[in-house]
């Protein structure tokens, strides 16, 4: 892929990728024709996923390299525009592609915290970090900490934090890969994970950053095309306007009017909603009563409850006039009865919460911080802003993103490439809220009020795939769908949009390929970050500084393999909540890296002791808060100022800043070399600067 000059290289890249995009569109058209000819959907899904993964592997193999600079930073000649695309693909994960629109659908305005947080962070990257890191021009983020603060302790903390947040994040990606592969090919989840990982390794194993960069550019093209086509179609269907971002204001007005009608028991639709809500309120009260009795009676109550169910089932079996199905229902209730007090508490607590949520009136989509009283609204507002800040600062501190800005040829291109990255990212993030509103309009007007005997095809299709994604049950047995009877999982919205819009199956396969591209590209970047931290920062910089190039690269590749296998193993255990893990990675990165990185550039006085205190303190505070408040760990301490564990960074960041400042002021100013380094990174070019000619 080498060209004689940078300009020649750029036009060559443009030609390659234009051809590539054209070829990809031709491929979609070809599959559409195959579909018309009657090729079954399963086969189309296989072809689509197989061809795209082979394509990434092909680019990966073509980009194989044994040059250190090519392997770690793609030779530092990635033009701003292409680095922007690669960063965008690196950035947008499975959570953005599949989860975001669904989160917006379910939580309305409050979900916009993710939209703002995941874009606004790039302002911080552009203004505070990218140009300076590019000028510094080494290979990893711990490199900067090591050079700026001296000694191996800041570097070691950096390596630890980089691995911690990248690994937390990569698990979420591998999970997404497994989910998509298993859903669209029918393979088992565990096998799906390993197939996806094979794809990741083929991309990055032989060519490191160089291979990852060029596959990420191609993955961006696929994911953005896959995201846009169904939304544009849906927009034309409902508004006649092919620009959904402009058209959905009008749709939002209609959704808001419909929400009002459904919440008003005087209208016929509203009356039916109220009926269903009453049933849910009873269920909630029932579960709460059981919980209360359990607290009072303990195991004795549990045994008595179980005995009651056993008797009821036995009576039904003995009697002759049992209603059909009643015996099965009693048997099912008995089989699902919680085994011990802890399980009962969980199950009934869940039931009470579900009932409470379903019994509440519909929250207005566009209303910020909806709540019944001032305290609830205030708590929501605090958490919204805290989450926005954590996501933004986390964005500006995640090593796999910052690393991408080492790959541009110049400082000027680094600044420009942040602009391109943000533009390409915003394209998807501006579309996601439109998709959420359009899908909501479809559900509120076409699905609600329709008859159970003639549900739209996509509803029954998805309900048969996975009950947590789509479930419609006729609670009040009137044969008509009410909104409170529909349960939608957040992943459904994007995956089902092609079917909601009435598009052929080939577009569904395209969306799956887009989701796979999003998950694979992010996983690639993260795994490379982890492997490079271990091989470059730990092995080369700390253990054996005289290691020959071939051994450094061999170790790097070996570690990549180990990390991938370990990640697949952890993922196959199916740990926790994906959105929480992603959020936690941001909070951790924000607390550990941001203060030391930003002050390292903007405050000459910052020194080693400050960096150690700030990074360790910030990271410890953040980890500690997550540990004591996130239910998974079982401590369940009270929240500080009502801040949710996902925004733990809100406490870690100030501790990090205070640590850097106090630690620095208590000890001597950094030495001449560190101060010269600060001057070096601040100016794109200094005539008398001996450091200017870096690799």
């Amino acid at each position: 892929m080498a060209g004689p000059t940078q300009t020649g290289f750029f036009s060559q890249l443009k030609r390659y990728y234009s051809l590539y995009t054209g070829g990809f569109i031709g491929f979609i058209v070809m599959l559409a024709i195959l579909e018309q000819m009657g090729v079954p959907n399963r086969i189309l899904g296989y072809i689509f996923l197989g061809v795209t993964v082979l394509l990434y592997a092909g680019i990966g193999i073509l980009s194989r390299t044994s040059d250190v600079s090519e392997y770690y930073v793609a030779g530092r000649r990635v033009p701003a525009l292409f680095n922007g695309m690669a960063t965008a693909a690196d950035w947008m994960s499975a959570a953005s592609f599949i989860g975001l629109a669904g989160t917006l659908y379910l939580s309305g305005y409050d979900g916009l915290a993710f939209v703002m947080g995941w874009t606004g962070g790039f302002v911080l990257v552009a203004l505070l970090l990218a140009p300076y890191l590019r000028k510094f021009g080494q290979y990893t983020i711990p490199d900067f900490l090591g050079a700026r603060y001296g000694g191996s302790i800041p570097r070691s903390i950096g390596v630890f934090a980089a691995i911690l947040c990248s690994f937390t994040y990569v698990i979420a990606q591998v999970y997404g890969v497994g989910l998509i592969v298993s859903r669209f090919t029918g393979l088992d989840f565990g096998i799906g994970v390993f197939v996806g990982l094979g794809g990741i390794l083929l991309c990055s194993f032989l060519g490191g950053m160089r291979a990852v960069t060029w596959t990420q550019v191609s993955q961006y093209v696929i994911l953005i095309v896959a995201y846009m086509i169904p939304v544009i179609w849906l927009s034309v269907k409902h508004t006649g306007n092919p620009v959904p971002q402009i058209a959905y204001g009008y749709v939002l007005e209609q959704v808001t009017a419909r929400e009002k009608a459904l919440n008003d028991p005087v209208t016929p639709d509203g009356a039916r909603e109220a009926e269903v809500r009453t049933i849910f309120r009873h269920k909630q009260e029932e579960a709460e009563a059981k919980l209360k009795a359990l607290e009072a009676g303990g195991a004795v109550y549990l045994a008595a409850e179980k005995a009651r169910l056993v008797n009821a089932a036995a009576e039904l079996k003995a009697g002759r006039d049992a209603e059909p199905g009643a015996i099965e229902a009693a048997g099912k209730a008995l089989a699902e009865f919680p085994a011990d007090a802890a399980a009962a508490r969980n199950a009934w607590h869940m039931a009470a919460e579900t009932g409470r949520a379903k019994a509440a009136p519909i929250a207005a989509h566009a209303e910020p911080f909806a709540g019944t009283d001032e305290a609830t609204r205030d708590r929501k507002r605090k958490n919204f802003l805290a989450l926005v800040l954590c996501l933004m600062v986390g964005t500006a501190a995640l090593p796999h993103i910052l690393m991408r800005f080492y790959t541009t040829p110049t400082v000027k291109e680094a600044r420009l490439s942040v602009f391109w990255s943000l533009l390409f990212i915003s394209l998807l993030y501006i579309t996601a809220p439109a998709l959420a509103v359009l899908a909501k309009y479809d559900v509120y007007t076409l699905l609600v009020g329709s008859s159970f005997s003639e549900l739209p095809g996509w509803v029954s299709a998805w309900a048969s795939v996975d009950k947590t994604l789509m479930n419609v049950t006729d609670i009040n047995r009137d044969g008509i769908v009410q909104l409170a009877e529909i349960t939608i999982g957040s992943d459904l919205i994007v995956l089902a949009t092609p079917e909601i819009a009435g598009l052929p199956y080939v577009i569904t396969a395209l969306v799956a390929a887009g989701g796979l591209a999003a998950a694979l590209s992010t996983a690639d970047g993260l795994m490379l970050t982890i492997a490079n931290s271990l091989s470059h920062d730990v092995y080369y910089k700390m253990i054996d500084p005289n290691a020959p190039t071939t051994r450094r690269l061999a170790i790097s590749k070996g570690l990549l393999l180990l990390v991938a296998i370990f990640a697949a193993y952890v993922t196959s255990l199916k740990p926790g909540d994906i959105l929480f893990m992603v959020g936690a990675a941001f909070s951790l990165a924000a607390s550990a890296f941001f203060p030391a990185l930003a002050l390292g550039v903007f405050w000459k006085r910052a020194n080693r002791m400050g960096a150690i205190l700030g990074m360790a303190g910030g990271l410890a505070t953040c980890m500690c808060y997550i540990y004591i408040t996130y239910p998974f760990f079982g401590v369940n301490a009270p929240l500080w100022w009502d801040i949710n564990p996902i925004s733990a960074g809100i406490f870690g960041m100030p501790v990090g800043f205070a640590g850097v400042i106090i630690g620095s002021l208590l000890t001597a100013a950094p030495d001449k070399a560190a101060q010269a380094l600060v001057d070096h990174v601040r100016y794109p070019s200094l005539k008398s600067d001996t450091r200017t000619e870096t690799v």
């Binding site: 000059t5 940078q6 300009t7 305005y109 916009l112 939209v115 703002m116 874009t119 606004g120 790039f122 302002v123 911080l124 552009a126 203004l127 505070l128 140009p131 971002q245 402009i246 204001g249 009008y250 939002l252 007005e253 566009a366 209303e367 910020p368 911080f369 609204r377 507002r381 919204f384 802003l385 926005v388 800040l389 933004m392 040829p409 110049t410 400082v411 000027k412 600044r415 420009l416 942040v418 602009f419 943000l422 533009l423 915003s426 993030y429 501006i430 809220p433 439109a434 903007f602 010269a676 001057d679 601040r682 100016y683 794109p684 070019s685 200094l686 008398s688 600067d689 001996t690």
Partner: protein, 87 residues
């Protein structure tokens, strides 16, 4: 290596620009977010203002901020003679 007064001036102007853009970033994000409920009644293109800002407006501002910064810094580099050689 010795920095000249000119170099220091370049850095001060960079700081001023960075500070100004960060202030705008902060205002559109947190100011609008904090007062979101009070701004509900304003309508733009059919959207309530806070929703429009969260879903689209702030994103466009962010893109503009980053683009403007890249443009201004490129100009500033040349003005102070600290730009990189041509490739």
């Amino acid at each position: 290596m010795q920095l000249t007064e000119k170099h220091r001036q370049y850095w001060r102007r960079n700081l001023r620009l960075t500070g100004m853009l960060l202030a705008i970033w902060f205002a559109v994000t947190f100011f609008v977010g904090w007062f979101a409920r009070d701004l509900q009644s304003f309508v733009v293109f059919g959207f309530p203002l806070p929703f429009y800002m969260g879903a689209q407006g702030t994103l466009l501002v962010y893109v503009a901020l980053v683009g403007y910064y890249a443009y201004c810094m490129g100009k500033l580099d040349r003005e102070y003679g600290v730009q990189e050689g041509d490739e």
